[in-house]
């Protein structure tokens, strides 16, 4: 069983876990009532043959115990072994390699493509791209995301990567700190995430222009940058797949594990942990891409989220449709010129 994760493809195993309940019901030797009747019969016909009792035990169904506590009435649970095989197998292995590959790919992209710089000269006329609420929501999510990512990575990979280097005492201290930070920053991340979704959902709704962007990967690998609205299809992909789907999946599964005092069963927490592990690997991988594009990757992108303002040239080159809408007055946006603009550019 411990080799399950390596023998069977990970997707098949995940499916198996999801269907475990249904499959068990189908292959189970019988209902509790049937097994009781078999046992009673056997006691008469073949005394000391307790096979039906052992089948009942293996079913993992709750029995009776006078000891209080969660699932103390279950003698043996088999799903723990499946959880172990998935966590120590594909999630650790594929998740770990995914992150290594993503970091290398980003580094490679940077060395080949370099920073995407402005082509035209800055005009000095600044347009407000992110309001106060946008920025507070974004940066609270960004900071808490980084804390969650780093502490989560320590909890999953620290034993393999850090422990051999820094030793048991120091690593246990670091892991305890990581666990507590993960647990207490988690709820802050959830609140920030919800604020971010509220702030950015409107301008992330799909548009016709997104299709063209997707077809040419936005000109990221050469060619002309495809005109886009306030957010291009790449940013929208990050918003919907990363922030909304993975963010909410992380929040829900995280809360299930964070509050073990609601008597949820081990099977529920195991499933939550599996989803959390797979989702987190993808979330961090996408997050690395977003962080790269928002800092090193695109000139002016970091200043935009820091000060809230972008130069008119930047708007025209990266988000032409948004720029045109502001120029034509279709979108109301604050603009700054002169000294203030000068100051903001220096940030």
């Amino acid at each position: 069983m411990s080799n399950l994760g390596r023998i069977v493809g990970p997707i098949a195993v995940i499916a198996a876990l999801a269907l475990a309940g249904a499959a068990q019901a189908q292959t189970a030797p019988g209902t509790q009532q049937q097994l009781i009747q078999q046992q009673q019969q056997r006691r008469v016909e073949q005394p000391l043959n307790n096979a039906p009792v052992w089948k009942e035990v293996r079913s993992g169904r709750p029995q009776f115990t006078s000891i209080p506590g969660r699932e103390t009435n279950v003698l043996i649970q088999s799903s723990g072994q499946t959880w172990r095989a998935l966590r120590d197998g594909p999630i650790t292995q594929y998740g770990g390699w995914l992150l290594v590959i993503v970091v290398l790919a980003i580094a490679g992209f940077y060395f080949v493509r370099g920073q995407i710089k402005l082509h035209g000269a800055p005009t000095g006329r600044m347009i407000e791209r992110f309001g106060g609420f946008d920025r507070v929501a974004h940066w609270s999510t960004a900071i808490t995301f980084c804390v969650m990512a780093v502490t989560g990575l320590i909890i999953l990979f620290g034993k393999l990567v850090l422990l051999p280097v820094i030793g048991y005492t120091l690593f246990a201290w670091l892991a305890a700190l990581s666990k507590n930070l993960h647990n207490f920053v988690g709820p802050l991340f959830i609140l920030s995430l919800l604020a971010t979704i509220v702030a950015f959902v409107r301008d992330n709704l799909p548009q016709a222009a997104d299709l063209k962007w997707i077809a040419t990967a936005g000109g990221m690998f050469g060619g002309r940058e495809v005109p886009s609205g306030r957010f291009n299809a790449g940013e929208k992909g990050w918003f919907w797949i990363g922030v909304v789907i993975l963010g909410i999946a992380m929040s829900v599964t995280g809360l299930i594990m964070l509050f073990p005092n609601f008597d949820q069963t081990r099977a529920t927490m195991q499933l939550a942990n599996i989803v959390h592990g797979i989702g987190a690997a993808l979330f961090v991988a996408l997050g690395l891409g977003h962080i790269y594009m928002g800092t090193l990757g695109v000139q002016g992108a970091y200043q935009a989220m820091r000060t809230g303002y972008v130069d008119e040239t930047w708007a025209k080159e990266h988000h032409q449709l948004w720029h045109d809408d502001i120029k034509s007055g279709k979108i109301q946006a604050k603009t700054e010129e002169g000294a203030l603009a000068q100051m903001q550019r220096q940030h």
């Binding site: 411990s2 009792v53 035990v57 506590g69 699932e71 009435n73 959880w83 246990a172 594990m257 081990r266």
Partner: protein, 209 residues
């Protein structure tokens, strides 16, 4: 070196919970934690009721050890699975993984915040020096170091629960089965000791579940 194991004889266990109580008292187990418990299958059904005492089985390929993020578990030379509470971070993963529900967590704060994990030590203490005050406070009595066996089995009124060298207790059980003529299931052995490693003997013939 002997390989320590537990064996519970379902034909003999009368669900008195004497083992649970003996363990709690001997080891001064934390509030809210029971290192051993008796589970009754088909409770109250005539002709189908069987009771089994269960605790940490000190598995050969221990799932708790495999999933622990800080690697705080270790096998003693006698095959007992112990853990270091100074390293434990209370994440609960051993509780997810264990087939027997052995790891328990004293509540350390609001919302079910977990304290340091506590489980059966086969009355073998922890990493501190044998018989020290620090060892007793964290893990309970180190009876093995005193040349004694776990108190749960020693106190068992019907000798349903056996603890000790796996070969010795398997022989005792085999004699019982020979006298009875049937019923050789050794509960939990295939799960706990099923994958032999390092020259350990596999579970006795007829082991189930």
């Amino acid at each position: 070196m002997a390989r320590m194991k537990f064996l519970c004889d379902a034909e003999r266990c009368i669900a008195c919970n004497g083992c649970t109580t003996a363990c709690k008292n001997e080891n001064e187990v934390p509030w809210g934690v029971n290192r051993r418990r008796v589970v009754t299958v088909n409770d109250g059904v005539p002709g189908a009721e069987k009771s089994i005492s269960v605790a940490c089985m000190h598995c050969s390929d221990a799932p708790c050890m495999a999933v622990c993020p800080v690697d705080c578990f270790y096998h003693t030379e006698e095959g007992v699975v112990l853990h270091d509470k100074d390293l434990c971070i209370g994440c609960g993963y051993c509780f997810y993984a264990c087939p027997f529900g052995a790891p328990q967590f004293p509540q350390a704060g609001a919302f079910g915040l977990r304290g340091k994990m506590d489980k059966c030590t086969f009355c073998a203490g922890g990493p501190e020096p044998d018989g020290s005050e620090a060892e007793f406070e964290k893990y309970g009595r180190n009876r093995l170091a005193e040349g004694k066996l776990p108190l749960c089995a020693e106190m068992c009124a019907t000798k349903a629960l056996l603890a000790g060298d796996g070969d010795v207790i398997a022989n005792i059980y085999r004699e019982r089965v020979t006298v009875r003529g049937k019923g050789s299931e050794v509960w939990g052995w295939a799960t706990a000791y099923g994958q032999p490693k390092g020259g350990q003997k596999p579970a006795p013939q007829g082991a189930k579940s």
